[in-house]
């Protein structure tokens, strides 16, 4: 993908077995990831069918959108995407402070790439959290909390993460994509596998997390 200041060119065609670019928020995730690594101050304006313009100010880590995140449209149709010059002297795109960008990145990361690895991730990597996402502000389920706890304590591959957390690989990959888009995941191709104490049936039954979740009615995963 190339970015020339006002225009984001279409992504290259997906490789066989790769992600379908047209699905959900994949195009937005690619654009956001690319702008975030640029040295040039730049913001984004996206047009989302039926949901109005979505404005992202990277410098202030903020966004503005008329659609509340609790009504995040997972299958949004993107009708336009443009970059907007940022930095000192540039007029603000919306009244600051706006909303915290992390909440939007969390949703976009979970709902892009259709469960395949994000294009900026490489095969053979293991991942570990650098800080926890602010879970009280992001819609989440208990499977995601368990996966985040795994990532907070060891370098794991997506497959290992899925195995340790009892979820399918696609679900683990969505979480890795989201945390990576939020830039709170470190990546390593050299980190060795970290064994987890085998979870016996008795240990599984004794998990306080599982029992307390049930007691509190948090049976969403």
């Amino acid at each position: 993908m190339t970015i020339d200041g006002n225009y984001v060119a279409p992504e290259p065609a997906p490789q066989p077995g790769s992600f379908p670019v047209s699905v959900g928020w994949t195009q937005a995730a690619i654009a956001i990831s690319s702008v975030m690594v640029l040295k040039t101050p730049m913001n984004l304006r996206m047009s989302i069918e039926m949901h109005g313009p979505l404005l992202i100010d990277f410098e202030h880590h903020a966004f503005a959108w008329s659609t509340p995140l609790e009504h995040f449209p997972v299958d949004a149709v993107h009708t336009g995407l443009e970059t907007v010059p940022g930095g000192a002297g540039a007029p603000p795109m919306f009244e600051l402070p706006g909303q915290d960008l992390d909440g939007l990145l969390w949703q976009i990361g979970l709902n892009s790439f259709d469960g395949a690895p994000a294009f900026w991730l490489s095969p053979g990597e293991r991942y570990r959290l650098t800080r926890w996402p602010n879970l009280t502000q992001h819609s989440h389920n208990m499977r995601q909390v368990k996966m985040i706890a795994v990532l907070g304590n060891a370098y794991v591959s997506t497959t290992e993460l899925a195995g340790y957390s009892g979820v399918d690989v696609g679900e683990a990959q969505r979480l890795v994509n989201a945390l990576s888009l939020m830039r709170i995941l470190s990546r390593s191709a050299e980190a060795p596998a970290v064994p987890m104490a085998p979870e016996t049936a008795a240990a599984k039954r004794q998990s306080l997390f599982g029992r307390l979740r049930k007691r509190l009615g948090r049976t969403d995963g």
């Binding site: 959290l129 879970l135 502000q137 997390f209 948090r218």
Partner: protein, 189 residues
């Protein structure tokens, strides 16, 4: 009877009593006295010994919630309670004069609890004042405790849903730390 002791720590006025009241299934046992430090935190009363609440998990198994007094002169209570605890929820009010300093102080005081269990940090009143960002709290943690990935959330202690999220995150993190062999020898309850 199986019991799991969770401490609520942090400076006076951070919301510890409110958080326990919100989570507890029993009427919270409180030891309040008139606040003689209203120049520091403007509230009429403050905890002087402990607050106590509990959640019944299963049968006779309980999660016991203890709130400690926030002022340092009650630190003798801190020593008593931390020996029994499995984990800690450290609440820091964003409108404190030095919230990052408060966080690092309490974390240092209760470091042994992190080493043999786990800690979650809740930043309260973040919606009231523009205090340090979560990233700044995390950066301070990385400076003072390199390599520790301690969960830091903004939280409203009056919001039961949020407090349940904090408690569950603490417990699953302790279990994962145990599963990956990251805990030191325990004297957990």
């Amino acid at each position: 009877m199986a019991e799991h002791v969770i401490l609520f720590t942090g400076p006076m006025g951070a919301g510890k009593t409110t958080a326990i009241q919100n989570l507890s299934e029993i009427e919270v046992v409180r030891t309040e006295a008139n606040n003689s430090e209203r120049h520091i935190v403007d509230k009429e009363t403050t905890t002087v010994a402990l607050d106590y609440g509990e959640i019944l998990v299963d049968g006779d198994e309980k999660v016991r919630l203890y709130g400690i007094p926030g002022q340092q002169r009650f630190s003798f209570m801190w020593s008593i309670l931390k020996k029994r605890a499995k984990g800690m929820i450290l609440l820091v009010n964003s409108d404190a004069p030095d919230p990052i300093g408060e966080m690092t102080f309490f974390l240092e005081e209760f470091r042994e609890l992190y080493d043999r269990g786990g800690v979650v940090i809740g930043i309260t009143r973040a919606d009231v004042v523009a205090g340090p960002t979560l990233a700044e709290f995390s950066e301070a943690l990385e400076r003072t405790n390199p390599g520790l990935v301690i969960p830091v959330f903004t939280v409203d202690p009056r919001n039961r849903d949020q407090m349940e999220n904090v408690l569950l995150a603490l417990i699953v993190n302790i279990e994962m730390r145990e599963a990956f062999g990251m805990l030191t020898a325990t004297e957990t309850a």
